[in-house]
């Protein structure tokens, strides 16, 4: 017995791309069905952005409580006892946030008029799929299809994640006990965010990175404060090092993992409680009938090939988010989802963003919007830059945000002062990024920012000052 359904818009995957597309397309009066094989919210809400930020916040709290309970306390506040850490408790607290948000997403989708079907969709042609649900199969014929299937962590073939000893980020976000020693294979943003948090919670962390530096997506200057933090906090970083294999040693509760890695042509071994593998993410292009849709892949063969309107090579089929190319970021997926719904409803839209912000929630946080100075030069731009340290910002001092050596750096074209890129590093700088992106999208000049009053005392003043510095007249800087 199977049920037959028709709709104007069928969305596969209810992550930050898919659910936004569903809500927007329902808002526009289109008959919309969204199919999700797991919980709504995707990786982002369930096992990615949100849960990791919860753990990171808890780790920060624990770290500061530890400072207050040290011998002389901190900033005049002393706790006489040591704070207790209950990893299980943290994870439960994190789960309540995740549940609240996924329920919220579900309610928003339903409230918008879109129909959420829980099940696994498999396409038999570009516009038809069969969804296996608990209540039986549903065959859906759609006028338009939006593929939003997302991505999955990449396993190392010689040490696949078992989520017990070899963890992916998913396992790392549901630890029941704080591991004493952790090795992180892959020094990208996911590994380092979790690495910083685990270090704050008291784990001894070792990072194994194959390239010659961690966080290769950021430039040298901007990642320097993070490298210093890692050193100060005794996080061992091995660069140009490749994991080679792992062995479970011991039995029962006392089992450990011996991780082998190669560095400088020498084999090294470390024994840890857990190994976290964060070597990247791979688009979900298999297991749901993509091969039956007649859709062309991009030149790398990994992602679905799309144009500036997220159209695939099959008419009426769109692809958004991680499955449709870099950068694999939730906010890019959401923006594409919203746009595609509007295109289907007949509006003229194009993905013409000047910048997609990238944020790394390490300690310190790192933000990059637009071009770095090096990238601008590579494009043949004559540039001026301005860099302002958080140590010269009053609000940063009151928040102790300057302690991690952060700064804000702006890059502009020399001839007309058009801002080309903004990067920031420092505690709490992530929340500053909105103004950076707006500046780029609006085509702001240095003068636009210079002539905008920034409230005192806030960290946004540091952005204002970095701009003044690029113009040669910063106030609070020598």
């Amino acid at each position: 017995m199977s049920e037959n359904r028709k709709c104007q818009v069928l969305i596969v995957g209810a992550g930050p791309g898919g659910y936004v597309a569903a809500i927007r397309s329902a808002q526009l009066g289109l008959e919309t069905i969204i199919v999700e094989g797991d919980k709504p919210g995707g990786v982002c809400l369930n096992i990615g952005c949100i849960p990791s930020k919860a753990i990171i916040h808890a780790a920060e709290r624990y770290e500061s409580l530890t400072k207050h309970s040290a011998d002389n306390g901190h900033m005049g506040i002393t706790i006489n006892d040591n704070p207790n850490l209950d990893m299980k408790g943290i994870v439960e607290w994190k789960d309540t946030i995740v549940q609240r948000l996924t329920k919220g997403v579900e309610a928003l989708v339903k409230g918008s008029g879109a129909e959420l079907i829980n099940g696994w969709a498999t396409f038999s042609s570009s516009k038809q799929c069969t969804v296996k649900t608990n209540q039986g199969d549903i065959i859906i014929d759609a006028e338009n299809v939006i593929i939003a299937t997302g991505s999955t962590h990449i396993d190392l073939p010689f040490m696949p994640c078992d989520e017990e000893f070899i963890l992916s980020s998913t396992g790392a976000l549901s630890l029941q006990k704080l591991p004493k020693k952790v090795a992180i294979v892959g020094g990208g943003y996911i590994g380092l965010e979790l690495g910083c948090a685990l270090s704050k919670l008291g784990s001894e962390v070792t990072v194994i990175e194959g390239m010659d530096s961690i966080l290769g997506i950021m430039d040298k200057e901007i990642r320097r404060p993070l490298e210093i933090w890692l050193k100060k906090n005794k996080v061992t970083v091995h660069t140009n090092a490749l994991a080679r294999g792992s062995k479970i040693k011991g039995k029962g509760a006392s089992s450990k993992v011996e991780l082998t890695f190669e560095k400088d042509s020498e084999e090294h071994k470390i024994t840890v409680d857990k190994v976290l593998v964060t070597v990247g993410r791979s688009p979900n292009s298999k297991g749901w009938g993509l091969e039956n849709m007649g859709i062309r892949m991009d030149t790398s063969g990994r992602f679905i090939r799309i144009d500036r309107q997220c159209r695939t090579s099959a008419p009426g089929v769109y692809a958004i988010g991680d499955v449709a190319g870099e950068p694999m970021l939730a906010h890019k997926a959401s923006a594409q989802g919203e746009m595609v719904a509007e295109i289907i409803s007949g509006e003229k839209r194009e993905f013409d963003k000047v910048a997609i912000p990238a944020i790394v929630f390490t300690e310190p946080e790192i933000v990059s919007v637009g071009l770095t100075p090096d990238e601008a030069k590579e494009r043949g731009e004559e540039i001026i830059t301005g860099k302002f340290p958080l140590a010269a910002n009053g609000r940063a001092l009151t928040l102790e945000a300057e302690k991690t050596g952060g700064f804000i750096r702006v890059t502009a074209r020399e001839s007309d002062h058009v801002i080309l890129g903004i990067q920031a590093v420092g505690s709490h700088v992530a929340e500053l990024h909105g103004e950076f992106v707006l500046a780029l999208e609006m085509g702001a000049l240095l003068e636009d920012i210079a002539d905008t009053v920034h409230a005192h005392p806030t960290m946004t003043e540091a952005f204002h000052e970095s701009v003044l510095k690029s113009l040669g007249h910063a106030i609070h800087s020598a």
């Binding site: 091969e291 892949m297 500036r308 159209r311 007309d416 002062h417 999208e441 000049l445």
Partner: protein, 431 residues
């Protein structure tokens, strides 16, 4: 991995070589199939050549301004066949590579290769990436400076922001610029610029290549080799204007609207048999002047690409409607780039007119190897003394230049005076 050598294909009309006028890509760029790679200018047309393959540009075989022969290497691509598309085989690169490599041995039969190639191409689904019209460009240096709201409005109005000039700082396009552009029906670009505190320091270095270089060379040849003398006159076109209005009012739907130009063309055709020395070509290397009894009038035409001189042939055998229609056809063809070689050559005398921006006078440069040129200026109402009274008459100035080696002052003046007589008593044109 493989190198893909792309040679300048036969671009038609017996063209054997072309000049590189613009590279759309740089060495190191990765290009997709059908992306524009280079503009090649031949004698008469500029052709944009698309990429035959996807790959990385590894080498150019010429700089902007260089001439390349049909069949010679233009670009070398490095194509990565290993990683290209695992899901769908793309047979095209292989198909093309083979014939082109064979071509290395025999240079001549390029045309054959080309025709062989076409039927081999397997019909593919329209690549998604090329089907969208790019309205704004958001990457790097070439990005249009405009807020998201302005970009959205432009897209909805189907306007290309890159052709609208912004009045904001650094050329940022504001809502007001869009309003002004739309209100002017697209003819005015942007609101008047306002000054901001940003100093402008940039310079724009433009390589003189292609049509501009040809124009420059032709001008130098004319001005350096021909001793010009210029002669000006004012012509009372009051009667002509009346006739023109009357003819326009009574014309059939299929007849073109008449400007002054067809009357001037007809008048020249009428008087030229008495002024043969002005309707001539001077071969100054062999010292031969060829006077023509046919009247082939070059019409200097401003186009987006620069100055063109399309030709109306045998005006002496046309009536006024025919000459107007033919003039519209050739100048239209020159403007939209469809003019044939024939449309653009063979003139014996040239008329230049700036139309609305006609001004009072000019010193037109003779279209070498012709010996005469006539410039037409804007007709306007003027107070003139006639029979002892000041009256309002419609006056049009003409400027002319003659090759003083061939045309004596008196002869040039005589032509213009004859023309004046014709235009002031327009009935004479038709007698």
């Amino acid at each position: 991995m493989g190198d893909y050598i792309f040679k300048l294909p036969d671009i038609g009309e017996g063209v054997v070589e072309g000049e590189i006028v613009l590279w759309h890509v740089k060495v190191g760029d990765s290009v997709a199939e059908d992306d524009d790679i280079v503009d090649i200018m031949t004698d008469k047309a500029t052709v944009t050549i698309p990429s035959p393959t996807s790959g990385i540009v590894t080498e150019f075989s010429g700089e902007v301004g260089d001439m390349v022969a049909v069949g010679s290497t233009l670009v070398t691509f490095s194509t990565d066949e290993n990683t290209s598309n695992q899901v769908e085989k793309e047979p095209v690169p292989e198909e093309i590579i083979k014939p082109v490599v064979e071509e290395k041995i025999i240079l001549e039969p390029v045309k054959e290769e080309k025709t062989k190639q076409i039927p081999k191409q397997i019909p593919k689904p329209i690549p998604a990436v090329t089907q969208s019209k790019q309205i704004t460009s958001s990457n790097g240096n070439s990005r249009v400076l405009a807020s998201p709201a302005v970009r959205r409005r432009a897209r909805e109005a189907e306007l290309d922001l890159s052709i609208i000039s912004g009045s904001g700082p650094a050329g940022r396009i504001r809502h007001a610029d869009l309003d002004a552009y739309i209100a002017a029906g697209g003819t005015v670009t942007g609101a008047p610029p306002t000054s901001y505190s940003t100093k402008r320091t940039g310079t724009n270095e433009i390589k003189v290549v292609g049509l501009r270089r040809k124009i420059a060379e032709q001008m130098v040849k004319s001005k350096f080799s021909i001793p010009h003398f210029s002669y000006f006159e004012e012509i009372d076109v009051t009667e002509l204007e009346e006739l023109r209005q009357m003819l326009n009012a009574s014309r059939d739907d299929n007849q073109p609207k008449l400007t002054y130009l067809p009357f001037i063309m007809m008048a020249l055709a009428k008087i030229m048999p008495n002024h043969e020395e002005c309707n001539a070509l001077y071969d100054d290397e062999n010292n031969i002047v060829t006077q023509h009894s046919a009247i082939h009038l070059g019409i200097a035409t401003q186009t987006d690409r620069g100055l063109f001189v399309p030709v109306v042939k045998h005006v002496e055998a046309m009536d006024i409607w025919q000459s107007a229609a033919e003039m519209q056809r050739v100048s239209g063809a020159a403007r939209n780039g469809t003019a044939s070689l024939d449309d653009l050559s063979g003139s014996t005398f040239t008329i230049t007119s700036l139309g609305r921006d006609g001004g009072l006078g000019a010193t037109p440069i003779i279209n070498h190897p012709e010996v005469s040129i006539l410039g037409i200026h804007k007709a306007r109402e003027m107070p003139v003394v006639k029979d002892g009274k000041v009256v309002i008459r419609r006056i049009m100035n003409v400027s002319s230049s003659f090759d003083h080696r061939i045309v004596d002052g008196a002869n040039g003046a005589a032509l213009i005076q004859a023309l004046k007589r014709m235009l002031e008593y327009p009935a004479l044109i038709f007698m």
